[in-house]
Amino acid sequence: MRRTSAGHARGSAAPAVHTTRKRIEECTDPALGVDDGRASRPEEKQAVGVQNTGILIDLQDDGACLRGVEISISDPEKRQGSNAVNMRELFTVYLVEARFVDGDREPTSVWRRYSEFEVLRNYLLVTHPYVVIPPLPEKRAEFVWHKLSADNMDPDFVERRRVGLETFLLRVIEHLQLSRDPIVSSFLSQENGWKETVNNTEFQAKADSLLKSLSATFRVKNPDKRFVELKCYCDELHTIISQLLKVQMRVADRLYGIYKIHANYGRVFSEWSAIEKDMGDGLQSAGHHMDVYAVSIDDMLEEEEHYADHLKEFLYYTESLRSVCSKHELLQYELEQLQYALLAKKQQREELSTGMVRMFSLKGVTSKLFGQETAEQRQSKLQLVDKQIAEDERCVSAKQQENRCEPHWIMDCEVDIVKYGGGSEC
């Protein structure tokens, strides 16, 4: 069972918003991609200018640049380079090829390593804060069973990672909003200097400030019930799945042990059959059966690993979803703050225009002490406050609009996850 076939099924069952069909190709021919003739093409001209990401979201499917793309990731290769601490390390790169179905752009191919995928994802997390970003496969081989160490160079691990990366990119491409981001298209086409391009967007600074505001505790006065429910669901699912993965690993280890112990049965039965005359044949076949039994566990555990990979995807999706909920909470909070500020300003305005002191305020005291201020002063203050009110109202309405948009995206992603979950269980 190739995992990409699950992705294929999902693509055809996707909700109506994503109309373009994707074909997934497996590029396993070793002849491709190895020779240097496939070095990066000259950079494609970006068809879309830099967008004002975040606030205004166009919900129409206007055939933006990256719909209709076939992606395939293949050919993991080992390269050597020096990492941050200037030590030589071995890493794997993958060949990312993109072909455009509508034919007016040439296919591209670049070599990307895992850390570059990570950078892309972090960028997306910051620039599209209210979209559930698809998860990446795990960085290090965790939950490894019956192997002595978690080896990132292990061919099985590399293969599973390759599939995970392909799925990630496909989901990004399928997503309306994400696929329109120019960084994504340059990820597919710009071999060198992509990192600089990304860093130039200064997403890192935004990420840091977002992290800071998220980590501060804040209370929202009227939390949106949908999001609260979603958050609870995410937390519970996260707990359940992480526990499941731990127990599943122990179960797999023990199962492996039991099957392999049966190989001892096989060996002794065979030896025994050699010294028996009458029972010899029976014992020999019993021994053979035990050996077959012992070996059969390897295939079973491979399937278990695939299943565990799916569970991990669910886990990462819950984390993604959870972070969207948190960001929404932040948004909500900021909205409320703004609304209160607006209310206060309106009150101030009223006070100024009517000259009445509603409640105890510093203004009232000073006016009593120093006398009423002049009409001009009042007028100018009035204008200032009016301007501020107008600005605040605009911000509030913008935020509210944002507020209204997210559920749509979130429901889409939920549908996505559930369909995927339904497919994978069978």
């Binding site: 669901y233 519970e236 699912l237 359940i240 799945i241 526990q243 499941l244 127990v247 599943q248 122990r250 179960v251 023990r254 199962l255 042990g257 039991i258 112990i261 049966h262 001892n264 049965y265 002794v268 039965f269 030896e271 025994w272 010294i275 009458d278 029972m279 029976g282 019993a286 559930v418 979950g421 339904g422 269980e425 069978c426």
Partner: protein, 413 residues
Amino acid sequence: MLAPGLSEAVSHPLAQDAFSDSEDAICDDSSATGYDTGERGPVSPASLLNRFPPGGTWEEEGEDRGDLFVRVEEPEKHVTAMETYITYQVATQTTRQEFGGSDFTVRRRYQDFAWLHGKLEATHPTHIIPPLPEKQVMRGVLERFAAAFVESRRRALHRFLSHLSRHPTLSFHPALQPFLTLPDLSEQRRTSGGLLGRVLGTPNWLVGSTGSCGGVGTSQVLGIRPKNTPVEFAVNATYLSSLAPKLTTLERVAQRVTKEQIELATELGELVPLYAAWWKLEGGDLGVCLHGLSGGLARCQAALLQVATANEDGIIPSFHHHGLYTTAAQAALRRRDALQAELENKEEQLATSPHNNQLVIAVESLSDSVTCADASLRADWQRWRGQQRCESRLALAGLAHSQLLYYQQVRLQ
């Protein structure tokens, strides 16, 4: 005359010269205090045929043959001022005349069984005595009384007595009747120590230490090897010495597998509530799948525990018993060897001083003993091999069957 058990060397029970030529009968006349020749209850030729199919295989179908049926059951704990011990109920049903009755029920403790075993070893050193379960000298007090241990010992004791009761020679040992019938055995044990041995003429040096089981305590005299061991016994000895370690390994493997299976069942049990919780969280199709998964895992767990129990009750004791029997057979072979070595020794002495009458008599009697011993051992060997084959087959088939049962139970209904 019809012995309750017939060796496989005799091809058909109704063959004409079968009984008079039976070497069993000739040899054991000297040791047994007499067969019950006369009335034996209605035995028709047809029923005989049923019991001994012409193929000569020994079908173990429970103890529905013969004239002596023994059961060991109902262990009970006894607490006295001096000690605490367990007794087992031994129920006997017999049609033998000399028992003076047809039903007996007595309580016996392990020491009594060990006494009986010692007696058997003393008087029939070159027979393969059915093995007893081991003494528990290492375990603590609590372990000795644990239910599982008591149960497994009860089964082993039952096996001991049922093998004994079906043995053509040993079942007529004089110690067996008091063992099965007397309410209190302690007097017997005190008075008959050593007497039988001297009466029946088995040299003391040949007797292993009484009260041990399976020939573990044989004296170092038996380390003497004879010069001309008959080929068949040498072959058997080699076979046994290569078989014994295999059986130990098999038993260890089975124990390890069972232990891991129980642990696995526990861990599967941890998965069940997790999936149940997840199922409650989800709805729709995914929920249905998860619910099914949770139920399936619960079924797996239950079925796995059953397999583990079946292992503990079936294959593990079977390997163990086989191993004990192997040791008993090895002991019998060694004693036979010792006897022959003694004979050769005496023969050499005779060669140097041919007119020593004592020596001549000694050599003659020894030579008779050796012939007897050879014959009895050969017969016992055949008997044991056939019986063991059936028991092994049953045990291994049980192992396979429990696996099949597992898959059946785990399958989606």
